[in-house]
């Protein structure tokens, strides 16, 4: 039903997709897999009308189409379930499903019809247990997802794009989703299934398209390939990037966790050594970020022990963690890392000022901030420029300068190079290594596996809120992926 031919797309001169073909048949579940940055999400956005391809054609139900916006694609029968749901928390399932298209009777909204039609849509996919009158905000993630799917069905969607549909689901909810996907398939719906998790891909899909660096590597029948074979297709990107040399030996134990846990993490035991980079890998939702946030006191550990340089500590707020010498570079720069409307200098000095406020600006501290900004090579029109106008890479460097001013003993990097161009990436890698070599203990989280392997002295792989295993920094991608995805070895 959907055919993409020779699709290409570039942003700001960077070729994100090149000459990609993809075909989806009615009643087929088609997996799209690939590492981060392989071009999966761009491809999905082209299929759902968010982006226009620069090259190639999109055929839908036998006709060449060019969707102006997602709503047009929706109207044509292409539904997309984003990772972030578009739902109103305070409204019922039926109200959400029919928002903007409420059925009328004598000029008034026909609530009965709305509920009835929602109920029959729910029944048609075997979800009778979900009441059309339930308030969406009180449902679990899985049921919210069902609501999104029903919303797509109500628009007569004939194909669905599901973007990492299990990322936020608990194990038992994943089983329910499996059933749902199979029932949709049985109705003749075509499904593009984007996922990192190989188990799902093998359990659910008929065919698999592997993307790598914006190109299609292959499309295979799921039954004709093994997990190992698939992983080999996905990884093995040429190293276009040189990483700074790794450290020779581990220093003393800086930060140790023993049996630490909270509501998202279980029985975490880890040691961060001075002078070393510990890479944390795992799929989205595996608890990587939760680990960093727990160490930093945002969502603190409720169980287990934490030692910093041998002393037992309990950190229940970021302020305490910072005082103890820990720094956290967040995953979401915009929401948690920047005060966007403040200047470069103010952003760089924020932590210093917060921790030891002074009445009068001392030349010394400002000077130090300037030196640090220069040392991390922030390029800005001036230090008075609002930080929101900087590129992602420069913003990240400003945040780094903020923490360096406090000379932290432990640094937690959560996706430090996400959304950052290649040049700045290398600079940040060098900085991270330099900090480690100066004696800091570094924990680094990244979805970019080659990056993590290139940077880490040791690796800890997380799955479902636990440490699934520890590996040396010399481990290969296949081993890591197998451990992270739970693919049996």
């Amino acid at each position: 039903m959907l055919q993409l031919r020779g699709v290409g797309k570039s942003f700001l001169g960077v070729q994100v997709l090149q000459d990609v073909d993809l075909e989806l048949a009615a009643g087929e579940v088609h997996a799209v897999v690939g590492e981060n940055g392989a071009g999966k999400s761009t491809l999905m956005k082209i299929a759902s009308g968010v982006y226009h391809p620069d090259a190639g054609t999109v055929r839908w139900l036998g006709r060449d189409v060019s969707f102006r916006d997602p709503r047009q694609a929706q109207a044509a029968g292409i539904g997309i379930i984003h990772q972030e749901f578009n739902l109103l928390a305070d409204r019922t399932v039926a109200q959400n499903v029919f928002l903007g298209r409420e059925p009328l009777r004598r000029g008034l909204v026909d609530t009965a019809a709305m509920n009835e039609r929602t109920a029959s849509l729910l029944a048609s996919i075997g979800e009778e247990s979900l009441s059309p009158q339930a308030i969406v905000g009180r449902l679990g993630v899985a049921q919210q997802q069902v609501t999104e799917i029903v919303k797509a069905l109500s628009l007569d969607a004939r194909m669905l794009i599901m973007d990492e549909p299990t990322a936020a689901l608990a194990d038992h909810e994943v089983e329910l989703l499996y059933g749902l996907v199979r029932r949709l398939k049985a109705r003749g719906m075509g499904i593009l299934y984007v996922s990192h998790r190989l188990k799902e891909v093998f359990d659910l899909t008929d065919r698999i398209t592997v993307l790598k660096d914006g190109r299609r590597v292959t499309t295979v029948d799921t039954s004709s390939i093994t997990a190992d074979g698939l992983v080999r297709h996905m990884v093995g990107r040429e190293l276009s990037h040189y990483y700074p040399p790794k450290s020779a030996e581990a220093g003393q134990e800086r930060l140790t966790l023993q049996g630490a846990g909270n509501n998202r993490l279980h029985d975490i035991s880890l040691a961060l050594h001075a002078g070393q980079v510990l890479g944390i890998c795992g799929l989205q939702g595996s608890g990587r970020s939760a680990l960093a946030r727990a160490i930093f006191g945002v969502d603190a550990f409720t169980r287990g022990n934490v030692h910093l340089d041998g002393a037992s500590i309990r950190l229940s707020s970021p302020r305490q963690a910072i005082r103890a010498g820990i720094a956290y570079i967040t995953e979401d720069r915009k929401a948690e890392g920047l005060t966007a409307q403040q200047s470069v200098l103010d952003n760089a000095m924020l932590a210093t000022r917060a921790l030891s406020p002074r009445w009068f600006a001392t030349a010394g501290r400002t000077l130090k901030a300037r030196e640090l900004l220069a040392a991390v090579e922030v390029h800005a029109a001036s230090e008075e420029q609002e930080v929101r106008y900087l590129s992602g890479g420069n913003q990240q460097k400003v945040i780094l300068a903020r923490w360096l001013a406090l000379t932290p003993r432990v640094l937690l990097f959560d996706e430090p190079t996400r959304g950052i161009d290649v040049g700045a990436k290398a600079a940040i890698h060098d900085l991270i290594r330099k900090l480690a070599s100066e004696g800091a203990a570094v924990l680094m989280i990244s979805s970019d596996l080659p990056e993590l392997l290139g940077m880490s002295d040791r690796l800890a792989v997380m799955r479902d809120g636990r440490i699934a295993g520890e590996l040396p920094g010399t481990a290969d991608e296949e081993t890591v992926m197998r451990l992270a995805t739970g693919a049996s070895s």
Binding site: A335, Q342, L350, A351, W359, F360
Partner: protein, 313 residues
């Protein structure tokens, strides 16, 4: 474009309020040169002092992302309390002034703690405080202000050292304190809190403490404004009426964004000054005093509309 116009554009891009103020002052200079006699200029500053002080206080709260709707009623409450407690006894003047500041502190602390710890939107907290203060002073005085202020008390609003009114000196002090606060690390962390509270918290800013201090500053500044206003006029329940909106208008006029994180305290105070100059100008031009609020309404809509346009482009 001439270099002068270019420079004016640069200034106005940074502080549009300054350009508006200078324009109004220029018109005033043409229409009424006497305005610039030192004596009448100082008299103007004296009149403007309470609103400028209130605007400075309101600025702290707004820049941290909150509102303080209680300042008008707090001014009324303070004046009424002062009159009743002093009750014409000169020896009570200074103790009562201390009590007024202390009362402001308590009100600000309550606003701040309720807003931050109980997670009540500041709009509601301070609206509730407004009702409570109005009701409380009426109850306490039985419906009409009692007692009287002493001459010593009124001196602060009325008298001068040489030609400089006390009110102007107090304004200078308060303005200096406000400026120093905003240049200090506290001020910077307050801006950061209003800009992005999550970032601020993750960078170690004690966010709750910063917001509470902002409310306290607003209330204490209102107490100071009340001391001046008590000296200006009689004791009445109307003395503070509507001042919360005037203060917010002034702050917003100064280009400070509701929602926090943007704008300077200087601009907020200039906003208040601009409002007062505007009113003076309207007087001079013979526009009836009754139209004052209409002009105020127009100005605030226009200023914010232009600001919104600018920030989008």
């Amino acid at each position: 474009m001439s270099s002068l116009a270019l420079r004016a554009r640069k200034v106005s891009a940074r502080q549009p309020i300054l350009l508006i103020l200078l324009t109004l002052l220029f018109v005033l200079a043409v229409r009424q040169p006497e305005f610039y006699d030192p004596a009448s200029l100082l008299a103007f500053l004296k009149r403007a002092a309470p609103l400028v002080i209130l605007a400075a206080g309101q600025y702290f709260v707004i820049v941290a992302g909150d509102f303080d709707l209680s300042v008008g009623s707090l001014v009324t409450a303070e004046v009424v309390i002062a009159a009743r407690l002093i009750d014409g006894d000169p020896s009570m003047t200074w103790p009562v002034i201390a009590i007024m500041i202390g009362f402001g502190l308590v009100v600000g602390l309550a606003n701040g703690l309720i807003t931050t710890l109980l997670h009540v939107p500041s709009f509601i907290t301070t609206l509730g405080m407004y009702l409570i203060l109005v009701g409380a002073v009426y109850t306490w005085t039985g419906g009409s202000p009692r007692g009287a202020l002493t001459e010593q008390f009124r001196m602060l609003g009325r008298n001068s050292i040489g030609i400089v009114p006390y009110a102007v000196l107090i304004l200078a002090c308060v303005a200096t304190i406000a400026l120093l606060l905003m240049r200090s690390d506290f001020g910077k962390t307050l801006l950061a809190t209003g800009d992005n509270p999550r970032t601020a918290r993750l960078s170690g800013v004690p966010v709750v403490r910063a917001r509470v201090i902002a409310f306290i500053l607003s209330a204490v500044f209102a107490a100071v404004a009340a001391i001046l206003l008590g000296g200006f006029g009689g004791v009445s329940f109307q003395v503070g009426a509507g001042l919360e909106f005037s203060a917010i208008t002034a702050v917003v006029l100064g280009g400070v964004a509701l929602g926090g994180g943007r704008g300077t305290v200087t601009a907020a105070m200039l906003g208040a000054l601009t409002l007062e100059v505007l009113f003076t100008l309207l007087n001079v031009l013979g526009v009836s005093g009754a139209l004052k609020s209409a002009v105020q309404g127009l100005i605030i809509i226009a200023a914010v509309a232009i600001g919104a346009r600018r920030s989008r482009s």
